[in-house]
Symmetry: D2
Subunit: 322 residues, 4 copies
């Protein structure tokens, strides 16, 4: 197992200016804040890092900024997510050239096939780009679940370094941990959940990739430290607070999916003064009005008091007429 | 909260003779074995108790046998599961008359509606039958997920005594626990999982309803006791063994769904001498041949050695020609 | 092929009094109206006939009423729909005893398996009850699609007399027609659609089972007659009007599924004076207020003018407080 | 309605050499064959045209080849399919620059939202690129169904020129046709089906986009001509043959999804001498052995006799070792 990729490795949210450009200053503020909180790595261009909303040039810009800001303080994983093998390989080559420590790829999507093609997909990526490769299991986005026996086989064959599990299927994750253990632990197993990280640690996860750490990383770091120390009551208490905080992605009304989830994160970050705006990528609109107030209320309930007013955040993203 | 329904409350598998009748002797052996292991209650006519395969007369027979065998040693919950309100009420009245301590109902199924109709469904059942009512959240069978806010509201209104969560959605379960706590804990929250019970306890579950306890109840009781004592390392170790044992529902080949899951349980029980046969209800066929050997192998891996040979179990259910 | 079951065979909606009892007078009015319009058969206790909301005693009552009213004027198909084989067989025996000309069964539901178990399910029903057996393919309710090759095999083996296809999958229906033809047309193939019956006739369907015929049967009869005469332009024109009329199940707001679909039918029937109320079975509530007006508006758009006012219909079902 | 885009507009399959490059010679042979058969337009870089397997450079290459080969003989629609608005706009600008007559875009995918965001997506594309824009409704790939009322509204607003419906939901298509008619027919409505085109024409479709036309375009042209002449019996007969031919995508065994569907098309085209190989894009493997024989058998059943042997086709794609 490649032990560089253990611990808390947040998927980094992407900061945008009001007119939709990359906001490097806010981006640096957020990354530095997470590193200062003690995270063990960072994952750029994941689903919550709006990889699916980033054309090639934007992807390059984001990676370059991340590499420069992080400056080797923690390992950097780069999401190379696209519909098919060759496009993923193009992204992976760019990621390597720009300084990635590991790459992360999903199953192919849009045109579906079977597990045999997914296995071949990972083998072709690994053959083409010499970097630790993580499989990203995220059926809600790609509509295929990665089979556990395939993942372990690819781990034993040296194709995969690990798995980022965002399948919201804790039963299959438990079986994967059991099978990985039986095989000698070839894979680093990271959970992509926010509110059941404690259960994943109980199961034996090697780390977590919680989007909510963009809002509050220190709780996740304390949970990890407690896990390493065997202090399960602290693990549990930290998780309870973070589970309540996660309501920021439930309370927005009249909006669904990415706009609700990442929209809740970015709004909280703007309220906390981390991001200058809560701008979202086209065609998604930022939260405003009552929805910003609902997010602020949850922050207060867990003692994270906003330093920017709801009104200012609500107007921080100058929305185009369309 | 009604504290009678805390702890380990297995859903009781139904013993059948080779010709498909209720096998009361095997049924008593299994129930007594679980009570001896220390379970805190029993749930009869759940999904794994083949409620969906039991016509009215069979349901009555099963309840009568369970009431007689249990003889008030532990509380008895009865599944009153059917497509619509009035049929559920008929089952609930019978359950009460025969001696149930609580009843368990799902959302209506076959003809779907919205959450408003599900809420009215539970209110009408509660109005008709004066027994503690548990909502059974099992979207894999009824294809609707029960909304957390509705459940807490029905708890506060005294309609629901608790929830049996078999939704395999640990994230929503965590949010439900959080909302239930905030409301003053009106609902008893039971997880229906087998391999992530430790995570549910971390989240604050009041108990578990693991089908696997038909095969091995003592591990679940030890896990509960450790949870109550705050001994999380023991919780974790017990869960690890039980997670591995649960492979008995993964290893059968060429069979899906109920025939694989409950088929794996019954086959293990026959190998352990608890049930005389591994017979399944029509139209499902029992496991045989290599599949019985696969189950036996898993039992051995966790130190539960079969006392009946694979060949005998494989032939224990005289299969009709059709 | 059993030619008694060709043509237009509406699934009969069940008339309820305000207090939820079977309204035999309204039921007779509706059945007689459809027979007078020239339908070729009737299907009682289908999905829109609220089979899933009918406990055993209600099922008997409905069948007895239907048998008496129809009095052999057209063939009578009875839905014997339940979660598993033995309960279906019980219903089928009752249906036969009470006078059914054919029985209709779905795949088992709630506890799912594979196609092998579904095939055995149909074989066991056929073995137990000597009546023409139709397979009802309705994945939206039972969450399994019946495989075309299995259906044709069961047709060739004399197990199935036909298929009622409500799968909303016209592509698979076309392939089924093709395979049935190649096998010598053992199966009567009926489409359960309302708005694409013309396409099913083009494909070679032997008839239709349109719920909308409860509202307007004569259009479906004219479409059938035109199909038999090869007058496709008339088929098309009739379908266009009926497709527009079907909007009665789209326009109700704030209600989903069965309450919207069958709720729209019953409301239209009450507006047309066929049913005395638009009452729905528990836990579903009847349409009222603006939703009744929306349904009335669609009726007027196709020249079916309400004879009962929207206000009277809106109050026709005395709703219980709960 | 823009009448340039009526009739039969096949989605063009992409010809690959054994080593995975664009095979321009085979591509020209196929396009010329379809134009000679009388098709009314061509759709390049659709789902079956492997848009999801084509990185940017490959997309450019395909469009350039298509523009040159077609040489304005029929209108050319280009699929601009990607996860999000800005990437779609980039593709659309390139398509316009290279000579597209119309562009085709799906809803955003991977990161899902609601209908409001999808509507904004289409408005932003239309604002950015001045070409007729078709909405591509393909939930099997993007996992969102386009709402009919939104489509008609975008038609009335001049944002959309039409819809390519590959939703396999003939009921919603019928409702869409009805709503479009009521609105004055702003949208060109094309069905993406192969085996129920007759039903779509009955409903009033303005044309079809059948992938199977790559194998046999002349039947689809005859069906269209018969439709225009009101000769429904001919429509029906042509569809029957084409429905049987479509079995080429059902008969391959041990392969799923794209590899089975487009794999079946390409294999038939290789057997007919249209394509030099049946090569598939990574990570999909081409059909071989028995699967090639199964496809050849179906071709023979409808009188399309292979001119290349099964053995030669089976070896036509030199498969890489991985």
């Amino acid at each position: 197992m490649d032990s560089r990729f253990r611990g808390v490795i947040p998927p980094v949210a992407t900061a945008l200016t009001a007119d939709g450009k990359l906001d490097k200053e806010s981006y640096a503020r957020s990354i530095n804040r997470m590193i200062d909180a003690g995270v063990h790595g960072l994952f750029v261009l994941g689903s919550s890092g709006e990889v699916a909303f980033s054309a090639d040039e934007r992807r390059r810009e984001i990676i370059e900024a991340a590499v420069e800001i992080i400056d080797h303080r923690v390992p950097l994983m780069i999401g190379c997510i696209d519909t098919e093998t060759n496009r993923v390989i193009e992204h992976a080559r760019q990621a390597k050239e720009l300084g990635a420590d590991a790459i992360v790829a999903t199953a192919p999507f849009y045109a579906l096939g079977g597990q045999a093609e997914i296995e071949r997909h990972f083998r072709l990526i690994h053959e083409a780009v010499d970097l630790p490769l993580f499989a990203y299991d995220i059926p809600v986005c790609v509509h295929t679940k990665l089979a556990g026996d395939m993942l372990v086989r690819l781990g034993l064959d040296g194709v995969l370094a690990g798995v980022k599990d965002s399948s919201n299927d804790d039963v299959s994750f438990r079986f994967l941990v059991d099978a990985n253990e039986e095989a000698g632990h070839p894979l680093v197993l990271l959970t992509g959940q926010e509110v059941v990280v404690d259960g994943a640690y109980m199961a034996g996860a090697d780390g977590s990739v919680p989007g909510l750490a963009n809002v509050e990383a220190s709780g996740y770091v304390r949970m990890w430290d407690a896990y390493q120390a065997g202090d399960w009551e602290t693990v549990r208490k930290e998780q309870d607070v973070l589970a309540h905080l996660m309501r920021i992605v439930l309370v927005p009304e009249g909006v669904q999916g990415f706009g609700k989830g990442v929209g809740g994160f970015k709004t909280a970050m703007a309220l906390l003064g981390v991001f200058d705006t809560n701008q979202m990528p086209d065609p998604v609109l930022p939260l405003k009005g009552e929805n910003v107030k609902r997010v602020a209320q949850i922050l207060r309930e867990v003692g994270l008091n906003p330093v920017v007013s709801e009104e200012v955040v609500s107007e921080s993203a100058q929305i185009r007429s369309l």
